[in-house]
């Protein structure tokens, strides 16, 4: 089977995964919020890869868990900013 015959969501997912990883690893401007937002991109790539293998439950759970981890990160970032700003 040639590469072009693989499911399109598999190929797109892998491409997005790599692009998102680069975007998150070297964000511009380099601050916490940019990096946190860029983290969503490789997450989307991973979701598409899971979709191509029909892993629906893992996909849901990944979505729910990334909501939770965003809560955790935003909380830490707010606490850190709270000391300097106000």
């Amino acid at each position: 089977m040639m590469i072009a015959e693989y499911p399109p969501e598999f190929l797109i997912g892998l491409v997005i995964l790599v692009i998102g990883t680069i975007a998150t690893a070297f964000p511009r401007p380099k601050d916490y919020l940019t990096r946190l937002i860029n983290l969503e991109i490789p997450g989307w790539g991973l979701l598409l890869v899971m979709l191509s293998y029909n892993e629906a439950l893992a996909l849901f759970t990944f979505g729910a868990i990334s909501v939770l981890s965003t809560y955790i990160y935003v909380r830490v970032m707010q606490k850190k900013a709270g000391g300097a700003g106000t």
Partner: protein, 201 residues
């Protein structure tokens, strides 16, 4: 030789190299913490490429372990940087805090989650509680949460041994496991909602 699996793993490993390289040259502690989420994604990618039902059964524990360690680490970071007392802006704007809408929405989510049972049900119910605690700036008694967490854990273990040694009572075991996991996920998520409040007073 080069099949779908090998191509997939090639790309995911390339992403892993980039992520670990960024982690190696990073010096700021909070940036390192954010990059950990990125390297977790590559690990999940390697597991997802397995493509069987087993892959999903391996992704779920991997996700849970990741989020648990992130929770603990974020708390250690706050203690270490001495920023525990800094305020966090919640959703406790006056209008929302007084309105009935968060209460009703949370009630709906919790009841719906209990009906669903199982892992997804726990997630839905927990999300309702997170929303409620965040909007009220509410301070739950942590001892109670810890006790509920302990009970859910015990129920879970009981269900497991029931499955293994008394398989004829599998229905009881299934129900215990479902209730246990609802309690477990709910408690974990409401802890996040509670910690959103203003520190530890």
């Amino acid at each position: 030789m080069w099949g779908q699996y090998s191509y997939g793993i090639l790309v995911v490993l390339v992403a892993g190299v980039i992520a670990f390289f960024a982690l190696a040259i990073e010096t700021d502690d909070l940036h390192r913490f954010l990059l950990l989420d990125l390297v977790e994604i590559t690990a999940l990618g390697v597991i997802a490429l397995l493509g069987t039902d087993l892959a999903e059964a391996l992704i779920l524990p991997g996700l849970t372990v990741g989020i648990a360690e992130q929770l603990a680490l974020s708390q250690i970071y706050c203690t270490k940087e001495r920023i525990m007392q800094n305020p966090v802006k919640g959703l406790n704007i006056e209008v929302i805090a007084k309105a009935d809408a968060p209460l009703i929405i949370s009630m709906f989510l919790v009841v719906y989650g209990l009906i669903l049972s199982g892992f997804t049900g726990g997630g839905v119910a927990g999300l309702g509680l997170v929303f409620f605690f965040m909007s009220r700036g509410y301070r739950e008694d942590l001892n109670l949460l810890e006790m509920a967490s302990g009970i859910s854990w015990a129920l879970w273990i009981f269900a497991f041994f029931c499955f293994m040694f008394l398989p004829q009572y599998w229905f009881i075991a299934l129900m215990c496991a479902a209730v246990g996991i609802v309690l477990k996920v709910t408690v974990k998520m409401s802890l996040v909602g509670t910690m959103w409040g203003n520190g530890n007073d």
